[in-house]
């Protein structure tokens, strides 16, 4: 069954999207393109808002927790629980805003990538160490870290932050741009999320490098697990050097 062009009345094939005589698009095709554009814009907007939600929610949660319980109670359960809760809530919020909760966890991975997490953790730890030394941190401030703090440092932080940055935010960033740009974006986000501990913006550079390295693991392996392992190893190294 053939149609006619709405512009020049020339006969058109049923499957044609443009008139062969005058080049005018069919109304159906225009409608399809407009709808596709709207869906794409909505998808991008949701992804950007998810990124904003991840970033803002975490910062406000961390600051709110610190304001409630004080920064000095750094070894207590309360601060770690509130901080972890803020990170998890921000990640969950970002995942919900995108509309696909499960997809933010990524897929499974091979054992080889879990092994690759070890040198990546060593590299990120080395960069952080050099940067902290350059900043003039004495480094000799040995102190004992309590059990709750250790649990927060080695278990909660890697789980929460990796789900947030390499899970929810990663998925949002991949929607917004190419995977390599997503790597850059999530590394920036990761760096900014750590901007509270060592003073305003002072922790940006070495956290950014760590974010790039963990993101590289996520990019190549397609899974969150190697990043979580590397992050946990990095934090364990930090704890060991602080304790000794």
């Amino acid at each position: 069954m053939s149609r006619t062009c709405h512009s020049c009345r020339a006969p058109m094939a049923t499957e044609a999207r443009f008139c062969g005589a005058c080049g005018a698009p069919t109304r159906d095709h225009v409608r399809t393109v407009v709808q596709r554009g709207q869906q794409e814009r909505q998808r991008v907007l949701r992804a950007a808002l998810a990124l904003g939600c991840a970033c803002t929610g975490t910062l406000l949660g961390l600051l709110g927790g610190a304001a409630l319980f004080g920064f000095h109670d750094a070894d207590g359960w309360a601060v770690h629980l509130v901080g972890a809760a803020a990170v998890f809530l921000a990640a969950a919020g970002a995942a919900l805003v995108q509309g696909d909760f499960v997809a933010t966890f990524g897929g499974g991975t091979r054992v080889g990538w879990l092994a690759a997490a070890v040198p990546v953790a060593a590299l990120s730890f080395f960069v952080a160490l050099v940067f902290v030394r350059l900043l003039g941190d004495p480094g000799g401030d040995a102190r004992s870290v309590s059990g709750p703090a250790l649990f927060g440092l080695i278990v909660l932080a890697p789980l929460g932050e990796e789900w947030l940055c390499r899970g929810a935010a990663w998925r949002a960033a991949v929607t917004l741009a190419q995977p390599h740009t997503a790597l850059l974006l999530t590394a920036i986000l990761f760096a900014f999320l750590h901007g509270l501990g060592g003073g305003y913006l002072l922790e940006l550079p070495h956290r950014f490098v760590a974010g790039l390295l963990f993101g590289w693991l996520r990019l190549r392996s397609g899974s969150l697990l190697p990043g979580i392992v590397a992050h946990a190893l990095h934090n364990t190294g930090a704890w060991l050097i602080t304790a000794t």
Partner: protein, 450 residues
């Protein structure tokens, strides 16, 4: 499909390779104009470079959307430049004022803060320069910065400054919306190489004199010229309007106010002089001036004034005029609305002899009834005070016959006012006079207290 249609020869689209009927002018799949002949024989220039993704409708929509949202990226660039200026000021402040103030344990942060301050400047300048090439990444950097700023500000101030907190939060949401638009801009730029925010350089070897590029440049130049002309005209109009408004609304200087006073005095317009007093004091001061003028008999014509000698400072001035044997002093003060008159001092009153007035009172007192006494009052206040005096006399039973007055007691006269006391029945009667040109009038009588 009929056999004719099946056998009809087709032509491939050069853009999407879709098969089209031989007689088609446009590709029915992507809308591109079909060239005569097979695509492999098309001129090389036609196929050079990357083609925009999508069909004609998608490209058209993309161009439309790009034109609409690319301004957001340009706005983000402006924000980066503004932040860079702010960061530069911070760096200057740090090196000129703040760094020297660091003492004790804080001094060890000197290097770190210096790196931070200049790093912030470098980052914002880099953002301003590169945001057009990589809109998404740099808009996200800006959004992250603002998020951190907002979080720290909210944490530091709480909601003690709700307006500021709301503004910051609004900008935060706007920044993340800008991230979405920047992502779209980047995608559109990737899909169609013609869509660039940064103006593309033309290879000089491929440049055609008088070609499309030159036409576009000329058109842009003409538009810019037109815009500049309009802007110049607008700014010029604004400047002219501003100067005119300034001149029209400029509060007059003290010289103008003195000249105005002199001119109004010259035409003996006391009411107009009263308008020169500052608001709120106009009625009182004007009434005092009117009284001074009336008591001296200057209602018809004020005496001629000599040249004004002005003695003034920034907020007050005094003009002294010679006026007959005396002087007129006009004091001016500067208020919000300009210079105004605060006080006018006229020469002392030259009153006539008081003796006839005293004698008239004695005669009226000795006469029967009180009408002759009341007639000694000024016509303007006769009704008001004459009636009161009549009642006082009736109270004492003196309205017909009054006790005799003794000889005139002490007299005191000053500036056209006088007080005369008469001994009366072992007590005394005090009469107050005022000189209102050309004679003395009774303005008050104090009867003995009994």
């Amino acid at each position: 499909m009929t056999e004719d249609e099946e056998l009809r020869p087709t032509v491939a689209c050069a853009a999407c390779r879709a098969a089209n009927p031989r007689d088609a002018g446009f590709c029915t799949s992507c809308g591109a104009k079909l060239e005569a002949g097979p695509p492999e024989l098309l001129p090389a220039g036609k196929r050079r470079g990357r083609r925009p993704a999508g069909d004609a409708v998608e490209q058209s929509r993309a161009r439309h959307e790009f034109g609409r949202i690319k301004n957001i990226v340009l706005t983000v660039r402006s924000v980066f430049w503004a932040c860079a200026v702010f960061a530069f000021v911070q760096a200057l402040l740090w090196h000129t004022v703040l760094a020297g103030a660091l003492e004790g344990p804080s001094a060890r942060w000197h290097t770190a803060i210096t790196v931070l301050v200049w790093g912030q400047l470098g980052l914002t300048v880099a953002g301003a320069l590169l945001v057009l090439r990589a809109p998404l990444a740099w808009t996200t950097v800006g959004a992250c910065f603002w998020t951190l700023n907002t979080a720290v500000a909210l944490w530091a101030n709480g909601f003690t400054q709700p307006i500021g907190a709301l503004c910051q939060s609004f900008l935060l949401v706007a920044f993340w919306f800008a991230v979405a638009q920047a992502a779209r801009v980047q995608k559109l730029m990737a899909a169609d190489p013609k869509l660039q925010i940064v103006r593309q350089r033309i290879d000089p070897s491929r440049r055609v004199v008088g070609g499309v590029a030159d036409e576009a440049r000329e058109r842009r130049r003409a538009e810019r010229h037109k815009l500049l002309q309009r802007l110049g005209a607008g700014v010029g109009l604004l400047v002219v309007a501003g100067v005119v408004i300034f001149l029209l609304t400029r509060p007059p200087g003290v010289d103008a106010t003195i000249a105005s006073f002199t001119e109004r005095w010259g035409r003996s317009d006391v009411e107009a002089i009263g308008d020169l007093f500052v608001d709120g004091r106009t009625d009182r001061a004007a009434a005092a001036l009117r009284e001074d003028v009336e008591r001296r008999g200057w209602q018809r014509a004020l005496p001629r004034l000599g040249e004004a000698k002005v003695d003034g400072g920034e907020d007050a001035a005094k003009a002294t005029y010679s006026c007959g044997a005396g002087e007129v002093h006009a004091t001016f003060g500067r208020g919000d609305s300009g210079w105004h008159l605060t006080r006018v001092t006229v020469p002392p009153l030259e009153a006539g002899d008081l003796a006839p007035a005293v004698e008239s009172f004695r005669t009226a007192w000795a006469a029967n009834g009180s009408e002759s006494l009341v007639s000694l009052w000024r016509p303007a206040s006769r009704e008001r005070f004459g009636g009161a005096m009549q009642r006082m006399l009736e109270k004492r039973g003196w309205h017909e016959q009054r006790p005799a007055l003794g000889d005139v007691g002490p007299k005191r006269a000053d500036h056209g006012r006088a007080r005369v006391t008469f001994p009366l029945d072992g007590d005394e009667l005090a009469v107050t006079y005022e000189y209102w040109h050309p004679q003395w009038f009774v303005v008050g009588v104090a009867l003995p207290q009994r």
